[in-house]
Structures are given as structure tokens and as C-alpha cells.
């Protein structure tokens, strides 16, 4: 979970960075209000730049949450500008709910060449997490477990032990 939390922080930083650098004409929004206000400039991207001249946008080395106040943003979907990420273009969309960033989606990021792909899959906080929950919808067919087994019971036992 720590990893996930850190990933979310990095997603937030990327999102903020993209918007901080945005040009006004690139805003395309379901919410017509134009500005996304960020009170704290994410200076950290400059400060954290590595000695090996690695672009800070691709791989911020120190992952800390910038001091951002709650309720800074207006609700809506915000498309960031296409920015040059050295190895290719990068573009994100942020979704703000209740004044907070609820999701940042990478619409484009460098992935053509193997080198840039490798760099980005390490730097990009791409995975998401949730607790599983039952759904009531009708389905045509089901993938997954077809029967219980010893391994399943062992796994469940381990889970329950961890929950104590």
C-alpha cells in the first residue's frame, strides 16, 4: 500500500506540473471555468534533478508530497497540454471531484522506443488500487475460480491471519 500511496503522490505531482506549465489555449474541459489554481509551485522538480541530467519530469527521484491546500481545485475534467518529455510527448487528464484530484490519466507518454519505454514504465505511476467489492450486475460468463482447492484455502487463511 505504501507503494500505491507513493504512486498516487507522484501522479499528483505530474498532474500539477503539467497544469502549472500549461498554455491557456490548451484547456479543454467539460467544466467551462478556465483556471486550475495551484497555490504551491512544484519547485521540487527542479530541486530534485539528478546529477546525470535525467529530466526531472520523467523520473523525480525524491517522492514527497508538495504542501498543497485542500479545496484548491474546481470540479471537472482537465486536459493538460501536450508537453515534450524529451523522449516524446506527454499529456495527462486530471479529474477533480470535491475540490481534490481524484484521478490523473496519462493520455500520451513516450513509449515508442525500447529505451524510453523502459524509462517511463519505471517512472510513470501507472497502476491503480482498490479493495475488491461484490457487484450485483448480470453477466454472460465468468472468469476466475471454478472450484476451491487447497491452495485457495491456504491463501484465505493467510489473509485472515494478516487481518488479525
Amino acid at each position: 500500500m505504501k507503494q500505491i500511496a507513493l504512486s498516487l503522490v507522484v501522479v499528483g505531482i505530474f498532474g500539477l506540473y503539467a497544469f502549472w506549465n500549461k498554455k491557456p489555449e490548451t484547456m479543454v474541459i467539460s467544466d467551462s471555468r478556465p483556471k486550475l489554481v495551484v497555490k504551491t509551485k512544484p519547485k521540487r522538480f527542479i530541486e530534485d534533478e539528478d546529477d546525470d541530467n535525467r529530466p526531472a519530469l520523467l523520473a523525480p527521484k525524491i517522492i514527497k508530497s508538495p504542501p498543497i491546500s485542500n479545496k484548491v481545485y474546481r470540479d471537472g475534467e482537465y486536459l493538460g497540454p501536450v508537453t515534450d518529455a524529451l523522449y516524446g510527448n506527454l499529456q495527462v487528464k486530471a479529474i477533480v471531484k470535491n475540490g481534490l484530484i481524484s484521478d490523473v490519466i496519462f493520455l500520451d507518454y513516450p513509449q515508442d522506443r525500447p529505451t524510453s519505454r523502459e524509462i517511463n514504465t519505471q517512472a510513470m505511476p501507472y497502476l491503480k488500487s482498490e479493495a475488491i467489492a461484490a457487484q450485483s450486475a448480470q453477466v454472460d460468463v465468468i472468469t476466475g475460480a471454478t472450484q476451491t482447492s487447497k491452495a485457495f484455502i491456504e491463501s484465505l487463511t493467510a489473509a485472515l491471519n494478516a487481518a488479525i
Binding site: F106, K128, S129, A131, A134, D140, T143, G144, Q147
Partner: protein
């Protein structure tokens, strides 16, 4: 193959169509089961060196699968050749071609929870590994495939050829355009343990949903496109 097969075809379908598809799966079992003495797989394990055209294709696919999964997908275990993990997806794919060649465009084929779904948008549920009567996700799949790997299915059938099996992942579902590769990648990613979902994220055209033994899911960036 010792697993349930479900076929649904939309349209005016005669029993004959279903019979042909089931006959195909039976022929696959006869030819590729490592548990049948006269199967080609058994004969290879007994020293047969001249293989059939189809077996040659399967062996090439197995080699390719081994390479793109960095060795995590391996049909050779202790010197014994067992390509079942690839043959299943390959057979589903071929059976799908058979159905389409008979003129049916709306169908799904489900072999032990690995599914190819064509034509209309089919709703495919991911079963809760902790409560088998529950569905935890509903996927909308059209002209695509979904495969799930987990140690709870049919016993401990997945092992990590590169080391000790990690056991904190309970289930890993992969969505892709091709059932053969969705199945192969789900098997390999599951064997990778926690790293498996990152491996799926790196594969173009694949999405994944991994569940750990605490009931937490980690999923790829494009997975929610399919959630309905």
C-alpha cells in the same frame, strides 16, 4: 482437458455446430494431453523427434512465449514437455475461427474460465476468489479475450520456473485481443508474483486486474475502459 467448456452462439444454431466445436476440443485433448499415453505430447516425452505440423507451430509459440515473458512461461519442467498452458488458448482461438467460418459472428467460448468473446459486447464477470458465489467486476468485452490465472483453480497448476512461488497473489486476470496471448501472459504474470501486474502494464494491448490475499486489487491504467 478436464475442465468445463461453455459455448454460446447467437443465431439459428443447430446442435451440429456445437457438436463440431466440442469434437474439436476432444481431438485437441487426444493429441496434446500429457496424461494420455498415445498423445503426441506423451510420444515426444518418450523420445519422438519428428513432430506434426501443428506441434511444430505450438513449439514455436512456446519458445516465443518463453522469450517475451523472460522465461516465466516455460513448458519444459524437469525435462518433461507439457504445453497445456499454451495449447488451451491456442485451441480456443482455433475453435473461434471454426465458429466464425461456419458463419456465426456473435459467440463466446469459455474453457475453464478463459474466454474469447466475439460480435456483440459480452458481459464477463470476474469471480471473487474469496467468495465464489460473488462477482467483483463486470467487463464489457467485444472481439476480445479474458483469461484468469490463480492457484485456486484446479489446484496449484502454476509454478514459477525461475524460483520459489510467491503466494500472496490470489488471482490475476488479463484482457487482450487474443486469447492465446492473454492466457499465456496471465500465467506468466501470475508466476511473477507482485511484479506481474507491472509486467502486464508494460505490454501494449493488455490490461490486468490482480488480487492479493488481503482482498486488495491492483490494476493497470487502461483496465477501467472495460469495466461496465
Amino acid at each position: 482437458m478436464g475442465m468445463p467448456i461453455t459455448i454460446k452462439i447467437v443465431g439459428l444454431v443447430s446442435q451440429n455446430i456445437f457438436d463440431r466445436v466440442f469434437e474439436y476440443f476432444e481431438s485437441i485433448d487426444e493429441k496434446y494431453s500429457p496424461f494420455k499415453e498415445n498423445s503426441e505430447v506423451s510420444q515426444i516425452n518418450n523420445g519422438l523427434t519428428s513432430v506434426s505440423h501443428d506441434m511444430n507451430i505450438i513449439m514455436k509459440l512456446c519458445k516465443e512465449a518463453n522469450e517475451i515473458t523472460n522465461g516465466y512461461f516455460d513448458v519444459w519442467r524437469g525435462g518433461i514437455f507439457n504445453p497445456s498452458g499454451l495449447v488451451k488458448g491456442w485451441a480456443i482461438k482455433n475453435a473461434g475461427n471454426l465458429v466464425r467460418n461456419m458463419g456465426f459472428e456473435n459467440y463466446f467460448l469459455d474453457v475453464g474460465g478463459d474466454i474469447e468473446a466475439f460480435g456483440k459486447t459480452w458481459k464477463i464477470g470476474i469471480r471473487n476468489p474469496f467468495n465464489l458465489s460473488e462477482t467483483i467486476k463486470v467487463l464489457n468485452i467485444q472481439d476480445g479475450a479474458v483469461a484468469t490465472s490463480g492457484n485456486y483453480e484446479r489446484g496449484n497448476h502454476i509454478y514459477n520456473p525461475l524460483g520459489k512461488m510467491q503466494n500472496d497473489i490470489v488471482s490475476l486476470t488479463v484482457i487482450g485481443s487474443d486469447i492465446l496471448w492473454a492466457d499465456v501472459m496471465a500465467t506468466a504474470a501470475f508466476a511473477m508474483g507482485r511484479e506481474g501486474i507491472s509486467f502486464i502494464e508494460k505490454q501494449k494491448g493488455l490490461e490486468g486486474y490482480m488480487i492479493d490475499n488481503k482482498g486488495m486489487a491492483i490494476y493497470t491504467s487502461g483496465f477501467n475502459i472495460y469495466v461496465g
